[in-house]
Symmetry: C2
Subunit: 332 residues, 2 copies
C-alpha cells in the first residue's frame, strides 16, 4: 500500500506511491552530456562577451577577463536584480513591494566546455565550493542583503540556457519563503527539545541506514524520508553547522560528497538534468543552534511538476528507500 | 527596474523582472489542440477499460458504464491512494506517516475527444463544476478525509497522460501544506483586521482595475499581485465564500468566468498547456470568515520551474499588469 509521509522540516505531505513503483529505467532518459556546438560565451577566449569578472581563479601572470583562468564569477548578463540603488520598500494598498535590488552572478565552474561537476577533477569541484563561499562572504557585507541563494540548473530540461557548466547565485534583500519556513519549523523543534531537528534526523538515519546513500568523515548523503520527486537527495554536514562554510579550512570532503552524489546520479539515471539549491541560515541569524545548512538536489525526471508544486502536495512514484539503494549500490 | 513583490497570502516573494519583459509571443508555443490518435480509454464505447463509474450525467434510459453519458466520474485506474483500509497513523522514529488511504478520481468532462474546457458548450462546463461539487460533498461524509484536492492538468507538457479532456480529484486524510499555510495566514490577517484578506484584495483590485482580467456579477478574474509564473490567473467569488459551492443553486456564472478565462488564455498564448488547482477550506472548518475559496491557473510556458519551485522564490519575466492587459483585451 502507498504511504503518506510528512517531511518533518517543511511540514509537507508526500504520497510515496509504491504501487506505481518507478525504477530508474522507467524514466525517459534526457541525457545531459555536453557537445561543443557553436559559440559559447563561457569558453576561454570569449571573456569579452560577458560582464567583467568579479573574482577568478587564475595564475598571477594572467590579466582579468582574459584566458588562463580555471574558474570565473561574472555578473549575469541579464540579471533579474540590479546591484545599484535603494530598496525603497513601500506599499501598494495592502501589498508589499520594493525595488529589485540584489546581485545575480554566474559561477563558470571550469574553462572546459565538455566538463560537468560530476566529471571534472575533484580539485575543481572544491574551487566551485570556495567560489560560493567567497561570494557569500563578500555579499554579506552589503547591509541591504539578507540572503544569498546559490543554485545550479544542470541541463536544458532543468532550466539551463547555456550548456557550459555553471552555477548561479542571487543575493536578496529578503529571505526566500521555503528557507523562512524551514527556519521557523526548526526553531519550534528546538524550543521543544533543545536539539537541532536536522541533527536528530542524521542520528536516526545513521541508525536506520536504509536511506543513506554515501558518507565520509564530515558529510552524509541521504534520500529524505518524504522526497517530493524521485531520487531527491540531500547532502548535510554530520556535525551541527548552521551556515555553509568550509570544514577545517577545506572543502575537500564536501567536494567528495557532492561529486560522488552527482556521479551516482549520472550512473543510475543516465546523466539526468537536475537542480540543486543550497539551504543555509540567513545572514541575520547565521550562527544558531537550530538550523543546519544542506544541499537539496532534485533530478528533473518527470515531464512536469504539474499540479503538485501548485498545491504543495506531491505524489512520488519512487520510494526513498529504493532510490537510496540504487544510489548506494552504484559504483562510481 | 525590476520589483520584488510579496504575495500577501502565502508570504512568498517574487521578482517581477520587467527588464526581461516577456510578451506572449516570446514563449515557445506548445499548442494543446487535440487530434484523434488511436485508442482512447475515455471515449464512448471504451467504458469497460476504466473502473466502474462513480457518478455520470446520462439519460435515464442508458445503463451505467455504457455510452450515452455527457460526463463521467471514474476511479483513477492507477490510483495514488486507495479507498479501503485504515489510516494507521504512526511514527517511524521522529517521522510521521500513515497508510495511503484516500480517493483518486477522474472527471471525464465530455464524451467529445476533440473538445476542451475552453471549447465545449458552457452547459458542459457547468456540469464539470457540478461534478466537482457532488464528489466533494459525497467524499466529505467519509470521516477519514480532511480535504479534497481538485485539479486539472491540460496538455502533455502540464502532466496530462491522456489527451481526452479530464480533471482529477484526490481526497486526502491530511490538508495539503499550501492550503494550510494560506489558512494560517488568512486567519492571522482576520485576527488583526476582522476582515477576510481575499475580500480586501478583491476590493482593492476592483479599485485599481489594472490587474483585472474579467468579471461578471458573481466572480472576478485577476492576475495576482505577485504571480509565480507568467500569466498566472486567479478566479474568486466576489462576495465572501469560504468553501467551493454553487451560487444560488447555479454554476452558470462560475462556468462563464472559467471558460472565458481559458478562452482568453487560448487566444493570447495559442492554446497553452496549463494546470489549475481549486483552493477551498478544509472540511473541518468549512464555513469561516477568514478564508475565501478560489481557483489558481498556471499556464505551463517555461521549460521548467527549475530552482524556483525548490526555493520558494520566483523570477517572473511578465508583470501581472501586462499579462492582465493582454488577457483583458483578448476578444473571445
Amino acid at each position: 500500500m502507498s504511504e503518506l509521509r510528512r517531511d518533518p522540516i517543511s511540514g509537507r505531505w508526500v504520497i510515496i506511491a509504491v504501487e506505481r513503483g518507478k525504477r530508474p529505467s522507467d524514466f525517459a532518459p534526457v541525457s545531459q552530456k555536453r557537445k561543443i556546438k557553436g559559440f559559447c560565451p563561457f569558453c576561454p577566449g570569449n571573456e569579452h562577451t560577458a560582464p567583467n569578472e568579479i573574482i577568478a581563479f587564475r595564475p598571477p601572470n594572467t590579466a582579468p577577463n582574459t584566458p588562463g583562468w580555471t574558474l570565473r564569477v561574472v555578473p549575469n548578463k541579464f540579471p533579474a536584480l540590479q546591484i545599484h540603488g535603494d530598496l525603497n520598500k513601500r506599499g501598494e494598498g495592502i501589498y508589499d513591494k520594493m525595488n529589485g535590488i540584489g546581485a545575480h552572478e554566474v559561477i563558470i565552474e571550469t574553462p572546459d566546455h565538455l566538463a560537468s561537476l560530476s566529471t571534472m577533477p575533484i580539485k575543481a569541484v572544491e574551487d566551485v565550493l570556495w567560489a560560493y563561499y567567497f561570494r557569500i562572504t563578500d555579499l554579506k557585507k552589503d547591509i541591504r542583503f539578507k540572503y544569498v541563494l546559490v543554485f545550479k540548473n544542470e541541463g536544458e530540461a532543468a532550466g539551463a540556457s547555456i550548456e557550459h557548466t555553471h552555477s548561479q547565485l542571487i543575493a536578496l534583500p529578503i529571505v526566500p519563503q521555503l528557507v523562512k519556513n524551514e527556519m521557523t519549523s526548526a526553531q519550534r523543534y528546538f524550543e521543544l527539545r533543545d536539539r537541532c531537528i536536522f541533527c536528530d534526523i542524521i542520528a536516526q538515519e545513521l541508525e536506520f541506514e536504509k536511506r543513506i546513500i554515501y558518507q565520509n568523515d564530515a558529510y552524509i548523503v541521504l534520500s529524505p524520508f518524504a522526497p517530493r520527486e524521485p531520487f531527491e537527495t540531500w547532502i548535510l554536514p554530520k556535525r551541527h553547522e548552521s551556515r555553509f562554510e568550509p570544514r577545517e579550512k577545506s572543502f575537500s570532503l564536501l567536494a567528495d560528497a557532492l561529486q560522488t552524489t552527482l556521479k551516482k546520479l549520472d550512473a543510475v539515471l543516465e546523466t539526468p538534468p537536475y537542480n540543486y539549491v543550497l539551504h543555509t541560515s540567513p545572514f541575520q541569524d547565521e550562527i544558531n543552534e537550530y538550523y543546519h545548512w544542506h544541499i537539496e538536489i532534485i533530478p528533473k525526471l518527470t515531464k512536469t511538476a504539474g499540479f503538485e508544486w501548485g498545491s504543495g502536495f506531491f505524489i512520488n512514484p519512487t520510494s526513498p528507500e529504493e532510490a537510496a539503494q540504487f544510489m548506494r549500490e552504484a559504483t562510481v
